[in-house]
Symmetry: C2
Subunit: 123 residues, 2 copies
């Protein structure tokens, strides 16, 4: 699901956009490439402090879009590549996934667990 | 509207997320910090090639969210800062704004003109 180019992108620092939508209104929260962890079953774990509006959107519609990229890696049209992940999200404040994140990011009060349905290189 | 920290962020390379929403479904397109231009009346000009889905969303709902950031500039919580821009968007394929963009980005077939209503430092 995550190819070597994607892994190389995530290894560069950059901004990740986490896009939710409910009540016909989009919302976007951000995190950093370096904050993402990946589980053996291809889920993405993101440490959360707050993200109240995203949480409220996800309660109504759990579909999320994530984008990330870097100008430092060659893409389809020259320098720069980016990815779009479509999937669903769930916020947890206990359990193994939360404990794993809490160890690395002691400020986290939740973990956002993203289950990707598709991972596309957009550029 | 754009403070000096924002200008410093944009001067670093990074991914910009352009978020649209219609029919209760969000969409996100990306561009690069270095592709943004600013007009004297505080509009943001973005070169466009394609962006078909964003265009269709904007025809139904012209509200856009843009996010951008960099880990290289100090923010509210240590290293890294990001901005959220809320505004409206319009795609143009002629006129002075398009010509200005076309000069710099000869591959552009439209310009996305964003009129920001708010520019907030999120982190």
């Amino acid at each position: 699901m995550f190819d070597s180019r994607f892994t190389a992108v995530i290894a560069k620092e950059g901004v990740v956009a986490i896009v939710s939508c409910a009540d016909n209104e989009a919302h976007v929260a951000n995190t950093w490439n370096s904050y993402l962890s990946f589980t053996d079953d291809h889920k993405i774990l993101i440490p959360v402090f707050g993200m109240v509006k995203t949480r409220k959107k996800v309660e109504k519609n759990n579909r999320l879009l994530l984008t990330m990229g870097t100008k430092e890696i060659e893409g389809k049209m020259g320098p720069g590549t980016g990815y779009l992940i479509e999937g669903t999200g769930e916020f947890l404040k206990e359990g193994a996934e939360f404990e794993k994140i809490k160890e690395k990011f002691n400020w986290a009060n939740r973990v956002l667990v993203v289950s990707p349905q598709s991972v596309k290189q957009t550029i």
